[in-house]
Subunit: 215 residues, 2 copies
């Protein structure tokens, strides 16, 4: 199994956490998004959408999109479970995950930055303000749902990590890229801290990757 | 079962298609996004994120996020299946779905329009160009993945509709809101046409809803 990844990518971070939680090892190939390597012809042959992560299975089939890859690992490697058993509870966990994967992260991808700075002529300060706004809004959505629901426990859903926690942690780290902190989101902050005490989360952190900058 | 919905919402459209395919009936309550009703205190008590659809089950629990709701229906009402049986094939269908749900649609929501026109001072023409750009990019991603993969059949995955087709159709309709057509995406166009010959898709179409404008 082989995964195209990059230390700073939030989507690759999510998949790394799931690999670690499931105890699955995958060979890594780096695609440096800052250098635009996702647009290289060699990588576009893997994923024409020029996005990571992409997972190549041993039979050669290629999976893309972090949420689809995480659901694949949940089905192919059921232990430990990262979704509850009950259908409505699974929907709650998936909804929290989607708040990060669909409502937060897509607003701060390289292609969005390129459009804001290229076609619309904005500078870095406006891109940072934009990113803080939308990453913060996604965290606020998670906070409000988590804070009011008795199903929230030590983690997003009860007392064991689920895909919602994986996505929450990626959202908190993404927010920090743009100068935001989880201080305004007390439940998110508490759950993020609980996750980051777990080895599988720690080892997956962007700054723990070999190609990450030292600071 | 009750669903908060609106004729023009692409996410509500996806959930309507799934309800129709599964033969499930839900009471509908309209939340007019153009009038800003998603921000009313009454609706924020249902979904503090101010987003539709929201599904209220008979036991009072509330599900949000279209992808999570569709997965709920797939689990709670397994027939007809809208995901394949094999884990890697399920990942392929979910990845195609996420290209619409996570990469296309979130870029054209009311909150993004509000930021582009408010904080960044752009006009309607720039919002339309932005929307065509990102909705078209998501359709191109779907087209490139569909065109090169022998698993593509009459529909996105084989010869029966799946969640990928539900999302593809919503993406084509969303693109049309901003003046785009599927002409540049021949496989997408062919599959969209196949879907729109099915009653469950036709009845769910935004313009088939009672509160839709006549033209």
């Amino acid at each position: 199994m082989m995964v195209y990844t990059w230390w700073r990518s939030l989507a690759a971070f999510r998949v790394r956490i799931v690999l670690n939680l499931k105890g699955v090892t995958a060979e890594e190939r780096q695609v440096d998004l800052r250098k635009g390597q996702q647009h290289d012809q060699a990588f576009r042959a893997v994923n024409p959408q020029s996005a990571i992560p992409a997972l190549v299975l041993d039979d050669g089939s290629t999976l893309v999109q972090s949420m689809a890859i995480m659901e694949y690992f949940e089905e192919a490697y059921p232990a430990p479970p990262l979704l509850p058993a009950d259908a409505a509870e699974r929907a709650r966990v998936r909804a929290l995950a989607q708040m990060a994967v669909a409502d937060g992260h897509p607003l701060v991808t390289p292609r969005v930055r390129a459009y804001l700075e290229g076609e619309l002529g904005h500078g870095e300060a406006q891109y940072l303000a934009w990113s803080r706004h939308f990453m913060g809004a996604a965290l606020m959505a998670m906070e409000e749902h988590l804070a009011r629901d008795p199903q929230t426990g030590m983690f997003c859903h009860g007392d064991r990590p689920t895909l919602a926690d994986v996505c929450l942690v990626s959202q908190v780290v993404g927010f920090s890229y743009f100068g935001g902190t989880a201080d305004a989101f007390p439940v998110v902050r508490r759950i993020n801290a609980a996750c980051m005490r777990i080895d599988a989360f720690q080892r997956a952190h962007p700054l723990a990757q070999p190609d990450a900058p030292k600071a």
